[in-house]
Assembly symmetry: C2
Homo-oligomer: 212 residues x 2
Amino acid sequence: MASDTLHRRGLMFILSSPSGTGKTTIARRLLDADAEISLSVSATTRPPRAGEVDGKDYHFVDDAGFDRMVAEDDFYEWAHVFGNRYGTPKSHIRAGLKEGRDFLFDIDWQGTQQLYQKDAQDVVRVFLLPPSIDELRRRLTGRGTDSDAVIAARMERARAEISHWDGYDYVIVNDDIDACFAKVRGILEAERIKRKRQTGLIPFVRDLLKPD
Amino acid sequence: MASDTLHRRGLMFILSSPSGTGKTTIARRLLDADAEISLSVSATTRPPRAGEVDGKDYHFVDDAGFDRMVAEDDFYEWAHVFGNRYGTPKSHIRAGLKEGRDFLFDIDWQGTQQLYQKDAQDVVRVFLLPPSIDELRRRLTGRGTDSDAVIAARMERARAEISHWDGYDYVIVNDDIDACFAKVRGILEAERIKRKRQTGLIPFVRDLLKPD
């Protein structure tokens, strides 16, 4: 009997960073490399586009359905975006956590706060920092076609996000994408071994302690 | 600037398990593989044996010195063993933690409690479980030269230790020594990335947030 075969509760793995710090690359690599973690699927009132699959890309609901989910407190958080509503449904994620599935959240500090306030025990918060302010500016400058004012506004937003670094459990300075990815993966694997998540240990230890 | 080069506070890494569960092998491999962690050095009133080095094998102190350390509350824990006294000195470990060195403790549940009560923030508690009760009995039976009563007493002690499994942060079922070692090492590496230990992030982020 290996630890890996014992039942465990899943976790909510949050990756945050200012834009230009490699978060999207790391998130995609993690999803590719690890079959036990998937992106959380949002609910939306936006109509499906060609090729989008209900339950995979989004949970497509009508306005009445979304209203009902709000009324039943089924969202970790929700927001209006361009006339449609988007939200992270609790019931879907909680069912997955119970089955031992992990969920990746590529969200900012505000979203992190909302998740943490509702499910602190299941949340693991990881923040990526740029290696230096010059490197951040270089990454946010892009192809050099943007005005100074646009770049200054991006830098401002990045700094606002960085200022919340101390609301995270783990912090990684991303100066090398491979090393950063290895660390993110290592954190996920270690968190899975936490006693509190390994619900299957309770019957396992009960058996070990049975008198002969 | 990589995370690895920022200053961090060290940690106290506790490995516990019932005897016969591979703890000593894992501890030795960890000390061999990782230069940043070392065994904590005990203080003792026992005279040095041939080849033992003061400050490396033990901190050798006389009775008056040991009394003074007890009076100054310089022990995490101490005990009489065969007419001599042994203890884990705080001041030495706390100085090391400040410098970013980690300490490995191969101790039982009682010692774990004592360390945790005094320095919870710096302590990481890992417990190893045997894969099954039959495998534990096999390992504790040894060469078959011990009486049933001796083996039964060993099983009793092992079960008493296992009963404290829920006082640990991480639990690993050791059914494969290589996989178990990889997990232990992964836990140590992830714990080092915890924000609270990375004291060097405070000035680093202050620099990132400096206005242009």
